[in-house]
Symmetry: C5
Subunit: 368 residues, 5 copies
C-alpha cells in the first residue's frame, strides 16, 4: 500500500520539532538544562527576530538620548520615562497571558484529539466484511498484486473516508492545501479516481461537499450487505457507527476552523504585549543625568533585565499564537499530511495484506 | 435544492469578520502586526465609541480644572485626585475580567458545538431509507425536477428537523427572528407547508412546541418502516437515535438561553469597569499646581497611558460581553441563518441529488 | 393536558429575573448601561441590605471618632487604623473569590444540564408504543376528552417519570417542597393517583424511594410489550435506555445535594469578606487630626471608594452564594416547578393530542 | 431487606456535617452569618488546634523579646524581623493555594460521581429478569419471608455487585476497612456467603480480585438466560452493560487511589504554609523599641491581623487537604458505608418487595 | 497464570513512592507534619541537587564580594544588585508556574485514565464465549494444567490485547522499553509466540503496527462465532466494542506522546525559573558596606529566605516537569510494566481459573 507515485520533496514531512518526551521521561537536571538550549521549535527561534528589532530600536533611542539631546530635552525625556514607567502596570501582561494561554491550550488539546484516526473503521471493516473476499482471496491468489483486488468494497470504504479527510484538511491546513491545490491533485494522487471526481463534480451545492464520500461509503456498505459480504445487520451498523464517529470528529475540526476565537481576543493580547515593549524602549533607558529624579542605580548600557522580560513575555505570547491555529507549518503544528498518508496506508494494509492472516492457534507458555 | 424564492437583501449573510485562521496558521511577525490593525470585528471597532465619550469627558474636566477653578478649588481637586488614585486598586479589574472571561469562553465553546449539524441524520437516512425510492427514482427519471420527488419520507425527515431548528433559533437568535418574524414566514419560506402549519397550530400547549416536528419525523420513520422502505429495525433505530441527538443538542442550546449566567455577574463586571474609568476622568488628570503634593512628573496634555489602559480593559470586557450571548448580529456571532440554509441544502442534496449515485467500482492505483 | 385544578397563587411562577439575553445579543453600549441599572435579580438588590448595615456602622464609628474621643484616644484610634490598613492585604479577597466563584459556576453549569428533560422519552414513547393506541384512538374519537384515554401505558410512563422528578425535587428544592409538602399533595395534584400512593407507601425502605416509579414505568413497558403495543425488542430497549438516562440525571442532581462543597470552603470565603469589611469600618475612616501620621488627603465624609469596593466584593460573593445552591427561590434560581409542569404537559400533549397527527405527505417547494 | 444482624454502634454512621444546602437555598444575610458560626465540619474545627499551637509559640517569643533580651539583642531581633517581613512575599500562598485547591476540587467532583449507584442495574434486572420469578412469586406467597426467595438470580446479581464495591472500598476507605477488617467480616455481614468465600479464596492471584464477583454476576446472567428467565438477548446485554458501567466507575475510584496526585505537590503547599506561619512568629511581633527602624504603629499585644490571616490560609489549606482524600472519616468525607448499605437495601427492595407490584392502570385526572 | 520465567531483578517493580492516601484519609495535623518530612518521591529529593549547586554558587560570589573586591568594585556590585533586585518582578514566576502546572495536571489526569484496563474485555469474554469451552473444560479435567487449554480463543484474545499494549508502551515508556528492547524479547516473555512474531514481521508497513494484534483478536472472534462458541451476534458485538474502546484508549496515550505540549512552553517556564535564581546569586547577597544605598537590615550570612523561595519555586517546577511526562522511571511515574503484568494475569485468571466457577445458588441471610 505505497503511494503509486513519487512524493516530490516539497511535500515531504517537515523536519520535526525536538520531541522532548523521551529525554524528560525521567527528570534529570542536566537534561533540563540541555532542553533549554535546543533551537528547533524553541522559544529562542520564536522570539529572536522580534528581539533584534527591539534591541535596534532601543539602541537608537539610547544613542539619541545620550548624544543628541540638549540638557532640557534630556530632562523632559527623563521625566517622560518616569511618568510612563510608573504606569507600566496598567497593562497586566501576566494576567492576560495566563488566562489567554490557558483557554488556547485547552482548545488545542480538544482539537488534536478530533483529528480522526481510521483505526476503528479499519478494525471493524476487516473483521466484519467477509464473504465477498473469499472470492477476492481466490482472485488474489491467481493474480498477485493485480490492483483489482483493492477495488473490493473494503478498501473503497477507507479510500472514501480518507478522501473526506483530505477535503476537510485542504480547507484548514496550509500544508495539505499546498499538496492538493485542486481536486485534480487529489485524483492524481490516487485518493480519488477520475470517474469518482466526475461524479463528485456532478453534485452541485453551494456548501462544502465533505459528506459526498461518506455517502458513497455507506452506500457501499449497502452493496456489500446485499451481496452478502457483510454478515448481518449488527455488523453493518457497527461499521456505519464508526464511520459516523469519524465524520463527527472531522466536523468538530472544521467547526473549530469556521468559528475561531473572536478576533478581538488575540488582537487584545498582541496589542498589549507589543505596546508594552514599545513603551519599554523609552522607559527602560538608563537615566544618567546627575540630577535626574529617576537616576538609574547603575549604567550597564545593556538593559539585560528588560531583555529577559522581553524573551519571557514574547515567548509566552508565541506559545499562545502557535497553538491558536495549529494547522500551519510551524515546527509544532499538526502534520496532517502525515496523518492522511498513515490513515490510507494502515487502512489498506490492514484490510488487504493482513486480511485473514490469523496465526495458527498454538498453546502458549503461561501455565493455566 | 435551492431556495424557491429570492432571499431579500435584508436576510443576506452579514459581512464576515476577518477570519484570521489562514493568515496566522504559520506564525509570522508581520502577519501579526497586520492582524492588530484589522478593523472589522476588531478591538478598535468594539471600543472606539466608548473611547470617544471618555476622551470628551476627560477633556471637559481638564479644561475646567486648568482654566475655571480657583487656587483653593484646584488644591481640593488635586487632593481629591490623590485620594482616589491611591485607592483605584480597590477594583481589581484584572482578576474579575480574567475569571469572568474564562468562564464565558468555556460556555461559548460548549454552546457552538451544540448548534446542531444535520449531517449524521442525512447520512443515515440516505443509506438506510431505501425501497420506496426505487419508485421515487423511477418517477424522478420521468418527471425531472418535479417537486413531488422531495415529498418522499427522506426529505420530509430533514425538513422536519430543520423546522425544529428554525423554531428554536427564532426564539434565541436576533437574525433568525428577523428573517422569520411569524410562523407564516417559515411557511412562506417553504420550510413548513401550509397544511403542516395548520396541524401545528391545532396543537395547543402553553409551552414551546419544538417537539412537534420531531414527532412528525419519528412518525414518518414508522410509516417508512411499515411501507418497507427502511430495511430493518436496526436501521430505524439508528436514524431515530441520530434525530434524538440532534434534538438534545437543540435543547442544550435553548437551555443555555433559558438559564443565562445570573444577571448579577455581568452587571458586577460592567459596573467595575465603568466605575473605574469614570473615576479615571478625575484621577488621571495631569496635576500641575507647583505646590501640589501629587504633581505629575510631566504635563503631556494627552493621558495616553490611561487611553491604552482604557482600550485594554474595555476591550477585554467587550470580548466577554460578545461571547456572553453569541446569538446576536455582531461580527463574531454565530450565523444561525447560514446554518439553517446549509442544513436544509445539504440534507436535500444528499438524499435526492446524490442518492444512489455510487461511482462504479473500479481498481484504484495503490498496489495492494 | 392542563392541570385539572386551579394552581393557587402561592404556587405561581415567581416573577422572572430580567433575562438579558435578547437585549445583549448585539452588544450596544447604551443597552449595557441600561442593564447595569436593572433592579430585579441585580447586584444592587443583592447587596443593598448589607450596604445599609455597613454604612450605619461606619457612620456610628465616624461620629464617635470625630466628636466623642479625646485627643489621646483619637491618636490611638488613628494609629490602630494605620496598623490595620497596612495589613488589609493579608486577606486576598480577589484570589479567593476568583477561584471560588470559578469552581461554583462550573458546578452550577453541570447541575442545570442534569435537571432532566422528558422530551427524549416522549419522542420515543410516542413513536414506538403503538398497537394499543389504535384501539385508544378509536375510543378517543367516540368519547372525546374522556380521561380514560390518558390511562394508556404511554401517559402512565410519563406520569411515573415526572413523579420521580417530583420526589427528587421535593427533597432539594424549596419551591417544590412548598408546593408539595406531603405525598398526599402530589396525589392531590394528580401526578400520583390515590391507589398508586397506597402502593408506594406499602414499600418500606429506610432510603428514598425515587426508584419506585421508575420500576413501575419499566414494568409498564413489559406490559405494553406483552400486549404487543410496542413493536419489537429494540423499541422497548430504546425507551428503557432513555428512562435510565433521565434517572441518572436525577441521581446526579440528588448526589450534588447529598455531597455539597464542604462547608469549610463557603465559610472561609464568607468569613474573609465579612471580616475584611468589618475592619474597614475602622481603617477607612477619614483621619483628620492635624498631626496624624496617616492623615487622609481630603476629608469627604462619605467613604465612596470603600462603598464601591463593598458593592464589588459583596456582589461577587453573592454571585457565588446564589449559584452555590440554585434550588431556592432567589430571582435566578432554577424554577423546578415550571420544569415539572412543562414535562408533564409536553409529555401528555405529545403522546395524546399530537399522536398520529402526521400531516399529509405533500410535495414541498424546493426544487429537487 | 434489613441487615440480619444488629449493626454495632462503632459502625454507625458518623454524625453528619451540617448540610447547608437547604438553609442557603434562598440566600439571606442572617442565614449566612449563622452558617459562619457553625462548628461541626467547620473552618473553626479544622484550624483551632494549629491556631492554639501558633498562639503559644507567638506568646513565648513575645515574652522572651520583651523581657529576656538585652538592648543589643532586641535590636538584632528587630532587624531580623524587618529582614524577614520584607521578604514574606517570596512565598505566594494565595497563588499556590488557589491553583492547588482548584485542581483538588475538580478531582473530588470527578471522584464522587464515580462512587457507583446500583440503581440502573436494579431497574434493568427488575424489569428484564422475569420467568423464573413467576415461580419465585408463587413460592413467595406460600412461604412468606422465607429467605430462599432472595436466592433468585436477581438478588444474587446485586449482592455480587455490592460485594465488589465492598472489596474496593475496603482498600481505599478507612471506615469501610474498620467495618470489614477481613473477608470473613464481609461474609459475616451476609454480603458474601461462606461457600462463596471459599470459592473466592480458591482463586489465586497476585492482584486484587475485585473482578471475581462481577464474573459471578455475568455468569448468573447466562444461567438466567438458559433458564429462560431473561427475555431475550437484548435484555441480557442491557444488564451486562450496566454491570460493566458500575465496574468501570469502581475502577476509576481505585485508579484515583492507586495514582494519587504526586506527593511533592501537597508537600510543597504544606511546606509553604507552615514555613510562612513559622516565620510569622518572629516577624509579626510588635516591635516596640523607641528607636527601632520598624517600630509598629501601635502595640496591641494580640496580633489579631495575623490570627485572621492564619485562620484564612490554614483554613484554605485544610479545605484542600480534606478533599485530597475524601475516603477518611472527616466530617465531610464520603460515607461509603452508607452507600454500601443503601445499594444493598435498594437493590433487594427493588427486586423483591417491589417486584411486579405495578399499580392497577386507572384513568388519571388530566384532561387529555 | 504466572510468568513462565523468572523476572530478572532489573525488571522488578521500582520501589513505590510513599502513598499518602491512607495516612491522610482523616486529616490530622501530626500526620501532615510527618508527610512533609518524607524523603522518597518528595519535594526534598527533587530539589536537593539544584539547591546544593545554587548554595555553592552563592557562597562563591559571597566570598568574592566580601574579601576580593575593592571599595569601588563593592560599590558597583551593590548598585548592580540593587538594580536587579528592583526588577526581579519582571519574571512573574507565580503566574507562569500556576497556569503551567494547572494545564499539566489536567493533561496528566486525562492520561492516566486512558492507560487501558483489560477488565471489561475479560468480563465479557468470560461471560459470552462459551460452547467451545465445554470441550475445553473436559480436556481441562483430564490434562490438568496442560498448557493447551490456554490456547482457547479466550486467552488468545487477551494475549493479543496485552500484546498491543506492550507495543504501544514500548514506544513511550522508558521502563517497558528497557524490559522489551526488541520484539524478540516480547516473544521470549511469552506474550507473543514465535510463529506469531513471524506473521507480525511479514506485515510490512512504514507505520507502527499496533493494530495487527487487534486485527487478530477480532478475527478470532469470527472464528469463535463460526465454531458456535460465542452465543449470538450481540455477544460478539459487545466484545468487539470493548476491544475497540481498549484500542481507542491506547491511541489516546500514543497521541499524547506524538503531540506533546510544544517545546516552547516548558522551555519558557524552565528558563524563567533558572534565570530568576541565577540572578538571585547576585541580588540576594547581604550588602554590608556601611554607605551602601541598599544596605541589608541584618547580615545573616545564610540567605535562608531565598533558600525557602528556591525550594518553593524549584519544587513547583519539578511537580510540573514530572507530570509533563509520566512515562519515565521517577518515583511517581506510571508503572506500566506492572499494568501489563496485571492485565495479563487478571485476564488469564479470569477466563481460565475462574471460568464457570459460579458458587452454588443458596439462600442468603437477608430477610426478603
Amino acid at each position: 500500500a505505497d503511494w503509486p507515485f513519487e512524493i516530490p520533496d516539497i511535500f515531504k514531512r517537515k523536519e520535526l520539532s525536538y520531541n522532548y518526551n523521551y529525554d524528560l521521561a525521567t527528570s534529570k537536571s542536566l537534561m533540563i538544562i540541555r532542553m533549554i538550549f535546543k533551537w528547533r521549535g524553541s522559544l529562542w527561534e520564536a522570539v529572536y527576530k522580534e528581539l533584534i528589532v527591539w534591541i535596534c530600536a532601543y539602541t537608537l533611542v539610547s544613542l539619541i538620548y545620550r548624544f543628541a539631546l540638549t540638557g532640557t530635552q534630556k530632562d523632559l525625556f527623563e521625566r517622560f520615562g518616569e511618568y510612563c514607567d510608573a504606569r507600566m502596570g496598567y497593562l497586566p501582561l501576566n494576567f492576560v497571558l495566563g488566562f489567554f494561554c490557558n483557554i488556547i491550550i485547552r482548545r488545542w488539546l480538544k482539537l488534536y484529539t478530533s483529528l480522526g484516526n481510521i483505526d476503528n473503521i479499519a478494525l471493524f471493516v476487516s473483521a466484519y466484511v467477509r464473504g465477498k473476499d473469499d472470492r477476492a482471496r481466490q482472485i488474489r491468489r491467481n493474480i498477485i498484486r493485480y490492483s483489482f483486488n483493492s477495488s473490493s468494497p473494503k478498501t473503497l470504504i477507507f479510500r472514501y473516508c480518507v478522501l473526506s479527510q483530505c477535503l476537510v484538511f485542504r480547507d484548514i491546513h496550509v500544508g495539505v492545501r499546498r499538496r492538493f491545490p485542486t481536486l485534480e491533485a487529489i485524483a492524481q494522487a490516487g485518493i480519488m479516481l477520475p470517474h469518482e471526481l466526475e461524479k463528485f463534480n456532478d453534485i452541485k451545492s453551494r456548501y462544502q461537499k465533505y459528506w459526498v464520500s461518506f455517502n458513497w461509503a455507506l452506500e457501499l456498505l449497502n452493496v456489500a450487505k446485499s451481496e452478502k459480504s457483510i454478515d448481518g445487520d449488527n455488523a453493518r451498523n457497527a461499521i456505519a457507527q464508526e464511520i459516523c464517529k469519524f465524520r463527527s470528529a472531522l466536523t468538530t475540526v472544521s467547526m473549530y476552523d469556521w468559528v475561531p476565537i473572536p478576533l478581538m481576543y488575540p488582537q487584545l493580547v498582541n496589542m498589549a504585549v507589543h505596546t508594552y515593549f514599545f513603551l519599554c524602549v523609552f522607559t527602560r533607558q538608563f537615566f544618567i543625568s546627575a540630577d535626574a529624579h529617576n537616576k538609574t542605580e547603575v549604567d550597564l548600557y545593556i538593559p539585560f533585565m528588560t531583555i529577559i522580560e522581553f524573551i519571557f513575555y514574547m515567548g509566552w505570547l508565541k506559545v499562545a499564537m502557535e497553538l491558536l491555529n495549529p494547522f500551519g507549518e510551524d515546527a509544532d503544528d499538526f502534520d496532517c499530511n502525515l496523518l492522511i498518508d498513515r490513515n490510507l496506508a494502515i487502512g489498506l494494509t490492514s484490510v488487504d495484506d493482513a486480511y485473514d492472516q490469523l496465526p495458527e492457534v498454538k498453546p502458549d507458555v503461561f501455565v493455566g
